[in-house]
Each structure stands twice: as structure tokens, then as C-alpha cells.
Symmetry: C2
Subunit: 222 residues, 2 copies
DNA sequence: TTTGCCATTAGCCAAAAGTCGAATCATGGC
DNA sequence: GCCATGATTCGACTTTTGGCTAATGGCAAA
């Protein structure tokens, strides 16, 4: 139990090479950093739950098991004390803006140089919000529909969230049950709870709500 | 049966004011144009089916009953002789590119001036592909997943397509049956045919495929 | 006219989805 | 230690889905 003072970082990305690069960058910024890696939604949840006091999470928007802002919205609302930096290959302004609106402390395009990444890490560790050059946030309002979905997501338990992500892949209850190693009855119970919390009446509507958090165009009004 | 030589235009947009503006613009470009209007998927289908020889269709990407490129892909593949110009408030390059890839003969941002719109109409009537200034198409390849979905959509009958769009709103068979004024058995027959043609095994997967045609980000690879 | 295709419906059946109530288990507070 | 809370689990039951067969009428092309 000799718990020392070192910082803990979580790197969630399904690309091993990129995880390594990020790990290096972190090492260059912080001495003796403890770095935990996750390459899927399942491991990410395990790591986050097991390390509530982690100092910073690096989160890719696209990993096995989740896509879009679902994981960001879920984790940010569940663990408000865990600053999260989004790391993504999509560097369009609208994606960056939404990431910040969902609570990200920064946004690092995957095309960034090591030098840039390191300065981003340093900035975020000091409590700043780091953005790529040339990006400003203008209005800070999240689409109300999207905000409602994000709030609903954050009310889900870890298992429920994972089940919802699997529903969003079009899987049957039976398939989900098999993959999670529980009975179909358990999945049904989870689904019922999900539908209730998301205020929808069937799985298709739940999936549609989640899809609204997947990277998409801002729909301009006329 | 005194069929004269006048041109027929179809304007599909749920915004009456914009339909009127477009109608005016068309009138300024073509003498004695016959203009048919549609404000929803249902009326659009009726008009298109009833006027197979129409000369040009103006199609909004967002109307009651459809969203995204579904209607464009469906109509373009069903009625290849009907040139279609997409009219949309979303004027990002990726949206324009995909519209053209789905067979549009042009793209008119709703923010365009009357003058611009008229020159667009003239260009398209002469067989050109009209784009906003500063947009070029670069590569012309449609995402293969998206192309497969588009092909599947075009194999649907009009009723099947409408049912699929209603599935995509999360409606029950019973609700769809009520709205269309037919029995639930009919809807079930349609759904079965839809699943077969789209090569999926349940309605959620069908809806996910359609969602892939809704405006979304190009997912960059790393 | 004959031949398809489409739309419509019914009926039957198996599978999947969704609801309810209840048992178990862990965890944190008193 | 004990209790309350909430997460997870599950079986039983009802509703919805989806597949299959079969029959009807309309409509358009060969």
C-alpha cells in the first residue's frame, strides 16, 4: 500500500503505435508517470472504474465498441474529476467544438507533431483547455437534443452503457448475452432499464439517439 | 391529351417560402415552365411517379419523412432520366461531394443569391454539373458501404422505401400501418422484403444502414 | 392475353424483444 | 456489525418481430 505521489494517466486508443507515441510524450512531460492503457470500451471502463483518481484521460473518438461522442459524454459526466483530452484523426472544427462542449479539456489531432502534443499535455495539466492553432470555439451551446442524450447516457450504469453500445451495432440480445457471458434475461433487464432512462420505447429509438452523438454535420437552419 | 412541349420541374422542399423563391427563379430561366411542388417524402414520391418525364428535380436533403442522402440515392437510381439538383442549407464540401457521387447534377446552397441560383439552373438544363464556386470534386469514389446501401435502397419499391424511412424513425409496425392506412400484415410483408433486399437480419440493422446515408463526417484513417 | 410485379391481407409459428417481480451481491454510511 | 442503496442477475409472462404460405386484385409490359 505504499501509494506514492506519482500521476496516473490513461491512454485509450485502439492503435498500439499511437498509444506508445502518446506514452512517450507523457513521459517527456511528467517524471515517473504511471500510464494505463485501454484499447477498447470494455478495458477503458475497467481501467477508469478501477482508478477513480486518475489525473488525465486521453480518449480516441473511435475505438472498438464505441464511436462518436458517446464514450466522452458518458465518462465526462460520470467522472467529472477526470480531465479528458480527445485525440482524434478527425480535426474538423465542428468535431473539436462538440468535443469541448461535451466536456473535453482539450483536443489533439492525430496529425500533430510530438512537440505539439507535449505542449498540449503541459497546458492541460495546468488546467487550461488546449486546442489546435487557429480554432476558436465561438458559441458554446450544445444542441439540446444532443445534450439530453448525453445526460441520459451519464445516468446509465457501466453495464448498461456497454449494452447500449452493442445495441448500436445491431446485435441481438442473445448475441450480447453471449459476448458478456450472462443470460439473455439479464440483457433484457438492462435493455428495459436503458429504454426507461433514455425515455424511448424500443431499441431502435435508443440506437437512433446514440447515433445522434456520432460525428455528424451540424444541421444548419434556413 | 393535348400534351404540349413545356418543361416540367419538381420542387421538393418543406419550406414554402423557399419553394416559391425557387419557382420564381425557374420562371426567370424558362418560359412557361410547369412546376410541381412537394413538401414531404410522400408527396414527392407521388409527384415523381406521376410524372416520369419531368425535366428536373430540385431536392432538399432534409424533408419530413427523409433525411440525408436516402431520398437522393433512391430517386436517382430509380429514375435515372430525371436530373436532380440538391438544394441544401449544408454547404460543406463533403456534403456536396457526396451529393454528386450519389448522382446529383448540381448542388445549390440555400444561401445562394437569386442570380446564382438562376445561373445554376441554366447550367444544369444544358447538361452541366453545377457546383458552388471554389468547390472541386477531387476523387470520385463513394464509400463502398455507402454505395451498397444506395444500391439496396434503389431496389426497394416506393412503399417499401417509405416504410423503411418510417422504421428509421423508430416506429412500430402497428404505427406505420396506422399512418399508411393499411393492415399490420402488410407492413410486416414490406419489412420482410426490406430486410431481404438490404441483406440484414433485423430492423435495427436496416436503420443503421440508412443512418450511414445521413450526413456524417468522413472518417479519416490514421 | 398472358405473365409478371406490386400491394394487400390473413393465418400460423418461432424467435426476439420488452415488462415485472424477485433474489443476490457489493458498498458505503451509521 | 447492520442497514440502505443500487448494480447485477435471472425466470416467467406478454407483446412485437420476422418468416412462410397462400390468396386477391391492379397494372403494365411482352
Amino acid at each position: 500500500m505504499t501509494q506514492d505521489e506519482q500521476s496516473t494517466f490513461i491512454v485509450a486508443d485502439d492503435h498500439p503505435l499511437f498509444r506508445e507515441a502518446l506514452t512517450h510524450a507523457i513521459g517527456n512531460c511528467v517524471n515517473g508517470a504511471r500510464i494505463l492503457e485501454a484499447d477498447s470500451l470494455a478495458t477503458l471502463q475497467d481501467v477508469v472504474e478501477a482508478n477513480p483518481g486518475a489525473d488525465l484521460l486521453f480518449l480516441d473518438l473511435h475505438m472498438p465498441g464505441v464511436s462518436g461522442f458517446s464514450a466522452l459524454a458518458y465518462i465526462r459526466n460520470k467522472h467529472e474529476s477526470l480531465p479528458t483530452v480527445v485525440v482524434s484523426a478527425m480535426d474538423e472544427g465542428s468535431v473539436i467544438r462538440r468535443a469541448i462542449q461535451h466536456g473535453a479539456s482539450g483536443f489533439i489531432p492525430k496529425s500533430s507533431s510530438i512537440r505539439t502534443i507535449e505542449s498540449a499535455i503541459r497546458a492541460v495539466l495546468e488546467g487550461e483547455v488546449w486546442l489546435p492553432e487557429g480554432v476558436d470555439l465561438e458559441d458554446g451551446a450544445l444542441d439540446s437534443e444532443e445534450a439530453r442524450t448525453a445526460a441520459a447516457l451519464s445516468s446509465l450504469t457501466p453495464h448498461q452503457f456497454r449494452v447500449l453500445m452493442m445495441l448500436s451495432e445491431g446485435l441481438l440480445n442473445k448475441q450480447i448475452a453471449f459476448q458478456l457471458g450472462v443470460s439473455e434475461a439479464t440483457i433484457k433487464a438492462h435493455v428495459t432499464a436503458i429504454l426507461r432512462k433514455m425515455q424511448v420505447t424500443n431499441r431502435t429509438q435508443a440506437v437512433l439517439a446514440v447515433q445522434g452523438l456520432t460525428a455528424k454535420k451540424p444541421e444548419l437552419e434556413d
